[in-house]
């Protein structure tokens, strides 16, 4: 059996990308979780973790080791298969999503034509994973959280997709690489400021960001792990790395969401002043958005569940529709 050179190279490339993406996701989870503890510490007039390593930089390692040494307890009466499958189902799509994101002109695992669609189809799976995890836990708090996560994600998928549809109408492509390429140049070329396409573009970005928070179950929309109501929500029964995977997935989802926001609205790897485009600009933009996610979480109380649905159905969806209509009209007129 002879394997062609290209096939082997392709396999190596694939393996490298898979390893690289998993490493990227894990690294982000580790250090975003450190940020998640350091940033609120600054807000709250304290120091945050500072014992492990210089400035607490090795704290994620300590956390990881602790999680790895813990036993994954499976509660009697729970659905063992689903219970163990759920964390995997949550983390895999998050990593898959990273595969189509163009980090720079040349860096990106796969440049496929339907990249945007791929991301939305993958990201729908993690909802299922969380739901199954909560359901299989055989715990009432987790079951309530499982029901909540579905209602919440359905409600927020709609405005999210409406905003994306409007954007795609403007860009005329699903290819993320091309979407970024269209935004080349200084910041007024970015989609967020593409006011000639629709004057509501900045608002569309805010809707996208809000929905992204809700989709990744982040505060103030963290209904599924509302600790003052549901103890730890869907993750109540998870211990050790079972919980660890959910944890990594949460941050991977934030990274995906922020990357997507960067790609779609903030000009991807392009510099705001048209200078030196590259990976660093992408990273700066993405991490600024990640900081905003953490910032929002530590500034506000949690919304009530009907408040969350009200926000989606009464505010975000109508606004997204208005934005969609306006974009269509502008396109027709242009």
């Amino acid at each position: 059996m002879s394997l062609s050179h290209e096939f082997i190279m392709g396999l190596v490339r694939l393996t490298l990308y898979v390893v690289g993406l998993i490493a990227f996701a894990a690294f982000n989870a580790a250090y975003l979780s450190l940020c998640e503890r350091k940033v609120p510490a600054w807000f709250q007039l304290r120091y945050g973790p500072k014992e492990v390593g210089p400035f607490g930089l090795l704290q994620p390692v300590a956390d990881g080791v602790k999680l790895l040494t813990k036993q994954l307890l499976v509660q009697k009466g729970s659905d063992v298969l689903l219970f163990k499958l759920a964390p995997v189902m949550v983390i895999t799509p998050a990593i898959m999503c990273l595969a189509v994101i163009p980090f720079s002109e040349t860096l990106g695992a796969r440049n496929i034509n339907l990249g945007l669609l791929a991301i939305f189809s993958f990201s729908a799976i993690h909802v299922l994973g969380t739901m199954l995890g909560g359901w299989a836990s055989y715990n009432k708090y987790a079951s309530i959280a499982a029901a909540r996560v579905v209602a919440q994600n359905i409600a927020y998928e709609i405005p999210l997709l409406l905003v994306i549809v409007a954007l795609v109408m403007v860009t005329r492509t699903f290819n993320l690489h091309e979407i970024v390429a269209q935004q080349a140049g200084a910041f007024w070329h970015w989609n967020i400021f593409r006011l000639q396409a629709s004057p509501l573009m900045p608002l569309a970005f805010l809707i996208f960001f809000t929905c992204m928070l809700a989709e990744s179950n982040r505060a103030p929309f963290d209904m599924i792990e509302a600790e003052s109501e549901l103890v730890a929500g869907a993750f109540t029964e998870y211990s050790g790395m079972g919980f660890g995977l959910f944890f990594i997935a949460e941050y991977a989802n934030i990274v995906v969401g922020c990357s997507l926001a960067t790609v779609l609205f903030l000009g991807g790897w392009h510099c705001p002043f048209g200078l030196l485009p590259g990976l660093h600009w992408f990273m700066i933009k993405m991490y600024v958005l990640c900081f905003a996610v953490i910032w929002v979480r530590w500034s506000f109380p949690r919304t009530q569940f009907y408040g969350l649905l009200n926000l989606s159905w009464k505010f975000l969806i109508p606004l997204a529709f208005v934005h969609l209509m306006l974009t269509a009209v502008m396109l027709k007129l242009a």
Partner: protein, 148 residues
Amino acid sequence: MWNYLKEIFSGGYSLLVGMWITLRHTFRRPVTVQYPYESLKMPARYRGHIQLVFDAATGQPKCVACMACARACPSNCISLEGHKPEGATRRVVSKYTLDFTSCSLCGLCVESCSFDALEFSKDYNLAATKKDEYVMDLMKQAQGKQEK
């Protein structure tokens, strides 16, 4: 419609104000005390566990074993013995035990003492691994402190 838009703007503005407040706090100095490295000085009236006061002139405890403190204690955690040495004008304490496991740090014993023979320790690092360590022999403790 107007109210609808007003709500969006006022609501959004209130969120921005909240974020601005938390961000502003970032630039203030942390208020926490990094405990094992730095510790606070206890105020003069801090009620720690009790200890015996020694007479500077004689080097002996001021306590005359009148049992007032033991009687005042709501939790009965003070037990002491005293004797009257020959030729002395007053009794001296020979054994003073504080069962810290049931002490509630109320300070009624110090208040009841008419000889100023009891004071509060300012030591608050009182973690121990065994219950026995909390049955404190105040005579011994005080001697240990004097030797230091």
